[in-house]
Amino acid sequence: MILKIKVNGKLRKVDAHPMARLLDVLREDLALTGTKEGCGEGECGACSVMLDGALVNSCLVPAIQADGATVKTIEGLASDGRLHRLQEEFMKCGGAQCGICTPGMIMASASLLAKKKRPNEAEIREGLAGNLCRCTGYAKIFESVRSAR
């Protein structure tokens, strides 16, 4: 099918199989490799993107359900050549080590901050509960989000 999606502000047309994963459409058809694949089954959050404003695991979204939708990926977070506040804080606080979980962590954090300007500790933990990190031990990730509030 010819898929029409607005990705990071631009309307894109992609010839994709309706059951192709949004994750693969983004990475392989649109060359947006910022979105990562960890588990491929909804557990790790490495593939988190915003679909019509809501945080989703792009590995669980079949292309047919992204037709006509608006998608925001990590590549769309910076604006006018300036990094998003969360990206700055993840760098400053050491919120990223190997970096595989980082795009997903930042998208989940951005989704949280969009809903709640000043989330408390419990809300931050809940907001990131679907995102796994094998490197940092999470403390510096939470610190990055706290500093970005």
Binding site: G42, E43, A54, L55, L60, A108
Partner: protein
């Protein structure tokens, strides 16, 4: 290994009528695709049966939470995010909101639907025990018409349901009750988020005015039987009795006879039985204010 794409076909239903026509034309050939959070996991594992999938996620007729004098109705496509934030549900059906809050994590809650949770028919699903305690009814629709069935009779055996292949779940409705109950919901998994239940307990109870007896009690559990289970015998063992140690111990025994936990990859029979028994007592203590 992941599924091979050319084995699959998918299309989006234009509206409910179109969806029902497709499903009745070739019953069993097409399978509905809602939030896809269960189906895409199978897909990733190469275990999704090859065939045709009908995307119903866009159907307005299956959306929204409606409140009338007698019922709160949830369209089958209602997501956990919508459930956990709904003020009437929070006030009158808090166990369902608790289940929604503890299902997966935010990204799953944004996509997963109540209809999908019911139709996926996992004995470990977290909303069914809440639905059972609240006397939910399910609306099934097909091109032949609509019917309401009590959720209590919906699951017949492991993964077997009264729903036919040409039917869709359109809505779930919960009767509103005037009486004031104390509600209790507890899910036990390996961690707070993103974990499948080892034991899931939903209960509500109503105490005598200033007594030590329950006038009424409802109990349903998940992950400890082949289907989500309402525990009628256990309820009878705690209603209209002085809630002393002997009665509670006896009720616990009956409860453990009523459930049938098993050993599997997530837990053991013994652990599940011990934890279910403890949570059962916690339910009595908290709702009775002991």
């Amino acid at each position: 290994m992941r599924a091979y794409l050319p084995d699959y076909q998918a299309r989006s239903a234009k509206d409910l009528k179109d969806a029902l026509k497709v499903l009745s034309g070739e019953p069993g050939l097409w399978k509905p695709l809602a939030g896809a959070t269960d189906l895409m996991v199978l897909f990733a594992a190469g275990k999704l049966p090859r065939g045709r999938y009908l995307n119903i996620r866009g159907l307005k007729e299956l959306r929204g939470i409606g409140v009338t004098k007698d019922f709160v109705s949830l369209g089958a496509l209602t997501t956990y995010t919508e459930i956990r934030g709904h003020s009437v549900l929070m006030k009158e059906f808090p166990n369902l909101c608790a289940a929604a809050r503890e299902t997966g994590a935010i990204a799953i809650q944004n996509r997963g639907t109540i209809g999908g949770n019911i139709a996926n028919a996992s004995p470990a699903a977290d909303s069914p025990p809440a639905l059972l305690v609240y006397d939910a009814e399910i609306e099934l629709v097909s091109s032949k018409g609509a019917r309401w069935v009590p959720y209590a009779g919906f699951h017949l055996a492991y993964k077997k349901m009264v729903m036919r292949p040409d039917e869709l779940i359109r809505a779930v409705r919960l009767p509103r009750r005037a009486e004031k109950f104390a509600h209790f919901y507890r899910k036990i998994g390996t961690r707070r988020a993103q974990a499948i239940s080892k034991v899931c307990f939903s209960g509500k109870a109503r105490l005598e005015k200033n007594g030590r007896r329950f006038l009424d009690a409802r109990i349903a559990v998940g992950s400890v039987a082949p289907i989500p289970l309402r525990c009628l015998r256990t309820e009878a063992a705690i209603v209209s009795r002085d809630l002393d140690a002997r009665v509670i111990a006896n009720a616990r025994k009956i409860f453990l006879q009523e459930i049938s936990p098993i050993d599997d990859i997530r837990s053991t029979r013994d652990y599940r039985a011990a934890v279910a028994g403890n949570v059962f007592e916690q339910f009595i203590q908290e709702t009775a204010g002991l």
